[in-house]
C-alpha cells in the first residue's frame, strides 16, 4: 500500500512516503517553523524523491491530535482535502501514539508520551508495546492536571518509559512521584516520526473524510463555559448550509 503520512501536531513536522513497510522518503524538521508554509512543499518534494505522482497514493495517514490546535488543523485539513481530491483512504492516528511507537523495541514495556498543554495540564496516555512491536492503548489519551496523572501512574506497580520533549522538561517532577520507576527516552526518540505513523495507520480502520476533525481533547474555552450553563438539543445544528 502506497502511503503518505504526516504529523504537524507540535513544533516538529514529519512527513514520510512509504510503500508497505518500505520507507522511500522522509523529512523531519524540529525547529519552530510555520507548518502552513512548509507542509505542502515538503509533500511535493518527497513524492518527487519517491518518483511518485499524487495519483499513485492509496492512503493518507495523519496525526490527528492532541497537540497545538493550529498545527492539528493544518494537518487535518490538508489530509482530508488530499484524500477527498484523490478519492483515497484517510486514517487518523493519535499524535501521542506516534510518540509511544518510537519505543517499539521495548516489548512488554509501558510507555507514557506527554505534551505540555500549559497551566499545569498535559495531554497524555498510557501505551504498552505488544509482541508485534506496536504501541497499544492501556489508558486512552486525555487532557489532565500533571499532578493528578503522576499520582495515578505512581499507583501502578510498573516501570514507565516517558517519551517526548515535554516529558524531558519535567523530568524532576516525574522523578519526585515515581522515583526509580521512571525512565526517559533518548533525544532521538522524542520527536515524532512519520514512518512510525504510517505503520500505525496502515493497519487502522479507514475514517470518513467529510466528518474527520482533529482530536483536540479539550473544548474551546467559550464552548466549555456555554455548555456549563446550557445543553445542546439533540440534532440541533449550529451551522446552516444554504
Amino acid at each position: 500500500m502506497k502511503i503518505l503520512a504526516f504529523d504537524t501536531s507540535n513544533t516538529a513536522m514529519s512527513v514520510a512516503v512509504v510503500d508497505g513497510q518500505q520507507l522511500l522518503a522522509e523529512k523531519t524538521v524540529n525547529v519552530r517553523k510555520n507548518h502552513s508554509i512548509q507542509l505542502m512543499p515538503t509533500i511535493d518534494l518527497l513524492l518527487q524523491d519517491a518518483k511518485w505522482t499524487p495519483q499513485m497514493l492509496e492512503r493518507i495517514v495523519v496525526a490527528e491530535g492532541p497537540g497545538s490546535y493550529t498545527g492539528l488543523r493544518i494537518a487535518a485539513t490538508t489530509a482530508k482535502t488530499l484524500a477527498w481530491t484523490l478519492g483515497i483512504d484517510l486514517v487518523g492516528v493519535s499524535s501521542l501514539q506516534v510518540l509511544a511507537q518510537n519505543a517499539a523495541m521495548l516489548e512488554g514495556q509501558w510507555i507514557c508520551p506527554l505534551f505540555d498543554a500549559r497551566r499545569g495540564n498535559f495531554y497524555t496516555g498510557l501505551y504498552r508495546i505488544n509482541m508485534d512491536g506496536q504501541a497499544v492503548v492501556i489508558e486512552p489519551d486525555t487532557h489532565i492536571a500533571l499532578v493528578e496523572w503522576l499520582d495515578y501512574l505512581a499507583h501502578q506497580d510498573k516501570t514507565i518509559y516517558f517519551v517526548g520533549e515535554d516529558a524531558w522538561k519535567i523530568k524532576d517532577t516525574i522523578k519526585k512521584h515515581l522515583a526509580d520507576r521512571a525512565y526517559f527516552s533518548k533525544a532521538i526518540l522524542q520527536t515524532p516520526d512519520a514512518w512510525q505513523l504510517s505503520q500505525l495507520g496502515a493497519c487502522k480502520e479507514v475514517t470518513d473524510i467529510h466528518t474527520f476533525v482533529p482530536q483536540y481533547l479539550k473544548l474551546a474555552e467559550a464552548e466549555a463555559n456555554w455548555l456549563a450553563r446550557h445543553t445542546l438539543q439533540e440534532g440541533e445544528s449550529l451551522v446552516d448550509t444554504y
Partner: protein
C-alpha cells in the same frame, strides 16, 4: 474558464464555481451565525473548528450544484487575507491540497477585492470606479482606476461600521449580529438624539465610529441612572442616521473628486436598507453621470462566489500562488 473558489476568512465556510468571472454556477455557504450567537460575537477558535468540519462538504456540494467535476475546473482560488488567521488557514490548506492533487493553478485573492467584485456577478463593473466596502471588519473607500488596481483613499481609524452596529446592538439588547435588528428598529423611530457625525467636515476620506458608539452608550447609561426610559426605536434611528450620513457624505465627496463612472456598495453592511436607499438618492441627485451598483442581498455577506469573481481578474493578470501560500490576516489591498 471555470474557477473553484474557497472562502473561510471569518465565520462562513464557502465554496463556489464561477465561470469567466461573471457567471455563478454554484455558491454554497455554511454559516456559523447560530453558533457564535451563543457568545454574542465570533469566537475565533470556534470558527476555526467549524471550518474544518465543513470544508470538504461545501466544496463537494459546490461542484455538485454546478454539475461539474474537478476535471472540468481550470483553477482553484482562495481568500488569503485579511481575516482571522486560524479561519483563513483552513481555506488556504484545502485550496493548496486540491491545486496540488488535481494539478491546477492556485490563485490567491484579497477578501476586500472579493467584496467589490461580487458586483460583477449580477452587473458589469466599469472603470474607473469608487467602492464603499462596509462590513463587521471593514470600512473602506477604494478607488479603482482599472480592473485589478486598488487604491484605498479612506478607511476607518478605529471600529468598522458593522462592528459598531454589533456593539450598540448588545447595549440595546438585540441578538448578535445586531445590524439587521437595528436597521429594522430604525424604521419605526426618529433621529432625535443628534449623535456626532465624526470627521464629516474634515477634508480626508477616513472614518471613525468609536465616538458615535461611545455617545450612544453614554446616552443609554445616563438615562438609566435617571430612571428615564428612552425609545429603543429612536435610539436605533439616531445611531443609523449618524452612521449612514458620514458614509454617504464621504462617498459622494470622493466620487466628485475622482473621475469615476460607477459607485459600488459592497460588504455585509451593504444589506442595510437605509444605506442602500439613502446612497441611491444621493448618487441620483449629486452625481448625475455616475451609476450606483449594489449587489443582491445574497452576495453582500461573505461568500466564495465573490472570491471566484475577483480571482478571474487576478488570473488574467497572471497572479499565482505556490504551495507555500500562507494565511495573511492583516493583508491590505
Amino acid at each position: 474558464m471555470k474557477i473553484l473558489a474557497i472562502e473561510s476568512s471569518c465565520d462562513e465556510t464557502s465554496a463556489a464555481v464561477i465561470e469567466d468571472g461573471c457567471r455563478q454556477l454554484s455558491n454554497v455557504v455554511a454559516s456559523q451565525i447560530k453558533s457564535h450567537k451563543r457568545f454574542g460575537g465570533v469566537v475565533p477558535e470556534i470558527a476555526s473548528r467549524h471550518h474544518v468540519e465543513f470544508i470538504t462538504l461545501v466544496i463537494e456540494e459546490a461542484l455538485q450544484r454546478a454539475q461539474c467535476t474537478l476535471k472540468e475546473i481550470d483553477a482553484v482560488a482562495v481568500t488569503e487575507g485579511p481575516g482571522l488567521v486560524g479561519a483563513l488557514l483552513i481555506g488556504v490548506s484545502a485550496a493548496k491540497a486540491i491545486a496540488y492533487a488535481a494539478g491546477l493553478p492556485l490563485i490567491p485573492v484579497n477578501h476586500i477585492a472579493g467584496h467589490i467584485y461580487a458586483a460583477n456577478l449580477n452587473d458589469t463593473l466599469e472603470f474607473p470606479l469608487l467602492a464603499l466596502v462596509v462590513s463587521g471588519g471593514h470600512t473602506e473607500l477604494v478607488y479603482m482606476k482599472e480592473s485589478g488596481s486598488y487604491e484605498i483613499i479612506g478607511e476607518t481609524r478605529d471600529d468598522a461600521v458593522g462592528e459598531a452596529y454589533d456593539k450598540i446592538g448588545r447595549v440595546i439588547g438585540v441578538p448578535y449580529p445586531g445590524g439587521k435588528h437595528i436597521d429594522e428598529m430604525a424604521h419605526h423611530g426618529k433621529d432625535r438624539y443628534n449623535f456626532p457625525r465624526a470627521m464629516i467636515k474634515e477634508d480626508h476620506y477616513d472614518f471613525s465610529f468609536s465616538g458615535l458608539k461611545s455617545a450612544f452608550i453614554n446616552k443609554v447609561h445616563n438615562a438609566q441612572q435617571r430612571d428615564e426610559v428612552l425609545d429603543s426605536n429612536d435610539l436605533a434611528a439616531s445611531f443609523q442616521a449618524a452612521a449612514v450620513d458620514v458614509l454617504i457624505d464621504k462617498t459622494i465627496r470622493a466620487a466628485k473628486e475622482y473621475p469615476v463612472k460607477q459607485v459600488v456598495l459592497a460588504g455585509g453592511v451593504a444589506a442595510n436598507s437605509a444605506l442602500r436607499n439613502e446612497l441611491a438618492k444621493a448618487v441620483e441627485h449629486e452625481l448625475p453621470n455616475v451609476r450606483l451598483i449594489v449587489p443582491p442581498l445574497s452576495l453582500t455577506g461573505d461568500n466564495a462566489a465573490m472570491i471566484g469573481a475577483a480571482a478571474y481578474i487576478a488570473y488574467t493578470r497572471g497572479e499565482r500562488a505556490e504551495l507555500d501560500l500562507n494565511a495573511k490576516p492583516g493583508l491590505s489591498l
